[in-house]
């Protein structure tokens, strides 16, 4: 086996992430007007309950058919049937610590071990005071059967699983992220 090169360490995005990472179309995983599209909105709070106004959330997800337009998907890369579907979203937090993403629900995914993953979004959280991104997942509250069988949810203690479940909201779903505290969101090592 060849010698591994040392990876570049992570560093914080710092307080001025907005100037470098703002995309006008960032929050739009799908274009406005896409049939079935909804908003995911949430607030990021720190361990003192203070909204985190200098953070950014990125999302990554399968298309509604559970496919990725990516060469490493062993089922084959497939452009999404849904016009304008990007799979990726990026939203900085506003003055109230809130982010927003316009998307559609992804399909469920086959698990290499034979099971099925429930529809989910992978989220990365970047911010001042975060020396490395935090990785979490968002699951949907209207998928109880799929969630109960999801291998990742099942790997999380039952009393913390709820932090990975979005809540219904008037125009979609609400998913708050608690960096610390009694209701600390589950974060993953990938």
């Amino acid at each position: 086996m060849s010698e591994q090169l040392g990876v570049m360490p992570a560093q914080t995005v710092g307080p001025y992430l907005h100037i470098g990472l703002r995309w006008p179309d960032g929050p739009y995983v799908v274009p406005e007007g896409t049939p079935g599209a909804f908003w995911i909105r949430g607030r990021i709070v720190d361990g003192t309950g203070t909204p985190v106004v200098d953070a950014m959330v990125e999302s990554w997800q399968a298309d509604p058919d559970g496919r990725f337009d990516h060469p490493d998907d062993p089922r084959g890369a497939r452009p999404p049937a849904l016009a304008g579907f990007r799979g990726f979203g990026r939203s900085e937090t506003d003055g109230q610590g809130c982010y927003r993403l316009l998307t559609v629900k992804p399909g469920s995914l086959p698990d290499p071990d034979g099971g099925t993953e429930a529809p989910h979004l992978a989220l990365s959280v970047f911010g001042r005071g975060l020396l490395h991104r935090l990785v979490t997942r968002l699951y949907f509250p209207d998928e109880p059967a799929a969630n109960a069988a999801d291998p990742v949810l099942r790997s999380v203690d039952t009393d913390r699983r709820g932090t990975l479940l979005a809540r219904p909201a008037s125009d979609g779903f609400r998913f708050d992220i608690h960096l610390q505290g009694d209701n600390e969101t589950v974060f993953f090592a990938v």
């Binding site: 560093q11 001025y16 100037i19 990125e58 990726f88 005071g129 020396l131 990785v135």
Partner: protein, 249 residues
Amino acid sequence: MTTQDTRADGGLVLPRYRRDDVDAHPPLLSPGYKSTVARAPRHPLIYLPQRLTEITGPLLGEGRLGALDHDLTRQHDGEPQGQRIIVHGRVRDGDGRPVPRTLVEIWQANAAGRYRDARDTWPAPLDPHFEGVGRALTDDQGRYQFITVQPGAYPWRNHDNAWRPAHIHFSLFGRAFTQRLVTQMYFPGDPLFFQDPIFNSVRDPKARDRMIARYDHATTAPEWALAYEFDIVLRGRESTPFEDEDDDE
């Protein structure tokens, strides 16, 4: 243990990315950097086996770049103040393989050490000809290049008389969700390293050194610009995708 042979679908074998060493990245809770105290999670991270969502990722950038996005000295009518520098390097994975066609985003303070951001209010001059934002796509060999000006150091309120060493923020996607990385590039010989808790949050000195660009005289443009080389290594893949992963927490 599930083995390759017993998989019902018979075909869903995924590449897998190496887990980073414990000291490869800074600990999230690094109390010298005070903002980490209320923001670093207190629960340990839960081990997430890599599945389809993690081994894929956005392959963006081709349509997102303007012709001058890589040249921060030509984005306005006039030239910015400061020492012109060429910043270039290769993006590779841990096995030394180039990471081609991947988006690299940078942002930085101007020559006086001030960001073009309403939240940056310290009394150093703004430069009307400098935005401090760049984007580039690596080529087929993983190479990228930016032209910019040497950023200045600036004070912050982390501790008494705290100054950030000059740096350029780098954001990279790689080819998979697992490879996503945001870091900072520093300059060789900076006298401010000793007191900077962000730079020093990386505990392994060899890992810290990777964040320091190399002065690259061979790439300088005579009578025009100095040059720095900054190579970036993202996580590599496991050599055998067939071993099973323990999916307990």
